[in-house]
Amino acid sequence: MSTLTMNNLQKKYPNGFVAVPGLDLHIDDGEFLVLVGPSGCGKSTVLRMVAGLEDISGGDLLIDDTRVNDKGPQERDIAMVFQSYALYPNMTVEGNIAFAMKLRKTDKGQIKQKVAEVAELLELTQVLDRKPGQLSGGQRQRVAMGRAIVREPKLFLMDEPLSNLDAKLRVQTRAEIAKLQRRLGVTTMYVTHDQVEAMTMGDRVAVLRRGVLMQCAAPSTLYESPDNLFVAQFIGSPSMNVVRGVVRSAGEEGIVLEVAGQSLALTGAAAQRMAGLAKYGGQEIAVGIRPEALGGDGEGQITVAVDLVEMLGSEKLVHASIDAVAVRAIDTGVEIGTGTSSTMIASLDPRRDVRVGERLTLSVDTMRVHAFDLQTGAAIGRS
């Protein structure tokens, strides 16, 4: 099958705006790569360059080791699912699915057979002779999928294909697409701004900010070892709590952080995985703790004041204030909040009794504490 490689891929729009300053990315044969990032970060731009719908301003784009920069979308043998689905309104469902094959002058009997197969697979058999205008949103989405898979292309490209579906259907379709992709084994690049979609669907997830790749790794890696503050806060919902802290001491015997006037000791393995903090002795850093790492048992402790309790059924979200300044990744780097306190969210066992206004001591899973450089936002790890 096929691989996709981008070497220093660049996009400068005619108005001078540089949407993608230089992207290096490789997608393996059969891999499902999700491109995720906030609105306007250049996801669609990258996808459209791969599709051939947007000129490439610099660098190389290779499909199967062949440079395709100068090939039109017709010659790249790719299929794309648009956010709007872009179904041909004047053709029936069958016509939509068969269009590409008709253009290739495929034998009529063969077209019929392939369309029937795909329709069967996507449960569209009943609606084959309807026009797109007479379909439900979910059916349209499946027709768009059908139009892509019937061609057996080298690459699937999908640009937010689920964003026009309601929440329930989106969850269901998300699983179906992932399953289908694994079954067909077609190399896929999938664009979304929804981090849940990214985490659940992708073999690997590439996080983009302002056209720059922030990290590309398996979902669990992104979640557990984010390379930088941006990824740490973008992935995960509710997002990671990050506040300013100080490295009190860092040495052989362990690390002591000070957060909100309370000290947090990291020892053993928890200290080893943050050995890089040795260089930050006495300095300020950003300390990140996911809501889930505040809920269970842990060696560390932190005391907070409860402001709000949200009961979600499977978990209880506690919004609490803490006397430390919030740190946030923004488009241009790192932003340190103003004031002296900030809000932390902890995800607790729903059975635990928590009252608004009470002072609550949360245990901190020290193996899941993250540290980031306050200037660059880079994660501080072993070295």
Partner: protein, 329 residues
């Protein structure tokens, strides 16, 4: 000058009187108790419209009756219609009208599509479109006079001057009197003169077609074309198989509008075809020529009826298309 002011004054007085009458009636109606008030108001507002409709329908019915009489006012049955379909002169008129409908509509629409497509997103598109649309604003009589200069056999005739530039001695051509086409002269095909007059109307209608189709093209979603290209379509295939079908409704509107205008073509035949001489006459022209200069009201009325029958189905198609377009949204 004084004339203008007195006419204007009359117009103002007329409108004011009309408003006063309607307003007064409305006020009277409002004084009535329910349920009469609502009904009375309806009548007040519908009344003028119904009166106008009467003014339209009544003459139509009279015309229908008139078509059964000959030029002396004697009962003639379907004689007028029989004459129309049997005399070779009249068949030429019918054929001319048919050719007008086909050639002018076809050429205007095709030119409209081609220009709209290639001008789309071109630099200077608004200026180009304005220039193309300009002739639409010219009256037919004005257009006829302009183009008479082009076709004239006199020394200022543009076309003859251009032919004169060809090497060798060139004869002066009497274009608008040439009822032959490539040496063939019969009632089934239009003469050169008819074709040259059609050019004028194409010049006018193509502008209309371009502007309307161009607007429709802008409404075609980009990603439809992109999807077609990814599906392997060339630019041309994407245009013919995705874009054109998308704007089908608009094309039908353009075609029917032009057909209706062209079937009723009259003024240009009067100004350029010398009232339908040299085999240039069309149905609407003949209707007028028979009813007034020739004093054969019955025959003129019969032409009017036929013209109505020719236009009616097209209006029907147009109306149905409009409804379909609305339904598609």
């Amino acid at each position: 000058m004084g004339d203008i002011f007195s006419s204007l004054g009359l117009v103002v007085v007329g409108i004011a009187a009309f408003a006063a009458v309607i307003g007064g009636l409305y006020w009277l109606a409002s004084q009535l108790p329910e349920p009469w008030r609502e009904r009375a108001r309806t009548v007040v507002f519908l009344g003028p419209g119904l009166l106008l409709l009467l003014g339209l329908v009544l003459p139509a019915l009279i015309n229908f009756r008139l078509a059964f009489y000959d030029r002396n006012g004697d009962w003639y049955g379907f004689g007028n219609y029989r004459d129309i379909f049997t005399s070779s002169n009249n068949i030429e008129v019918l054929m001319n009208t048919l050719w007008w409908g086909i050639l002018v509509t076809g050429a205007s629409t095709v030119i409209g599509v081609v220009i709209a497509r290639f001008a789309d997103r071109m630099r200077g598109e608004p200026i180009a479109k304005a220039a193309i649309f300009l002739p639409t604003a010219i009256s037919m009589v004005g257009a006829g006079i302009i183009w008479n200069f082009v076709y004239s056999p006199r020394e200022y005739g543009l076309l003859n001057s251009m032919i004169g530039l060809l090497p060798g001695e060139q004869d002066i051509q009497f274009f608008l009197q040439d009822s032959k086409l490539l040496g063939i002269d019969n009632q089934w095909i239009p003469g050169l003169n008819s074709l040259l007059i059609m050019v004028v109307i194409i010049w006018i209608q193509a502008g209309f077609a371009t502007v309307v189709i161009s607007a429709a093209l802008k409404g075609v979603p980009d990603d439809l074309v992109e999807a077609a290209k990814i599906d392997g379509a060339t630019d041309r295939q994407a245009f013919f198989r995705v874009v054109l079908p998308y704007i089908k409704g608009t094309i039908i509107t353009v075609v029917t509008t032009i057909v209706i205008a062209v079937l009723k073509i009259f003024d240009i035949i009067q100004t350029m075809g010398k009232g339908g001489s040299f085999g240039t006459s069309t149905m609407a022209n003949e209707m007028y020529e028979q009813a007034f200069p020739q004093d054969n009201e019955g025959l003129g009325a019969a032409w009017a009826i036929l013209l109505f029958l020719a236009v009616a189905p097209i209006i029907y198609v147009n109306a149905r298309n409009q409804r379909a377009m609305r339904g598609a949204r």
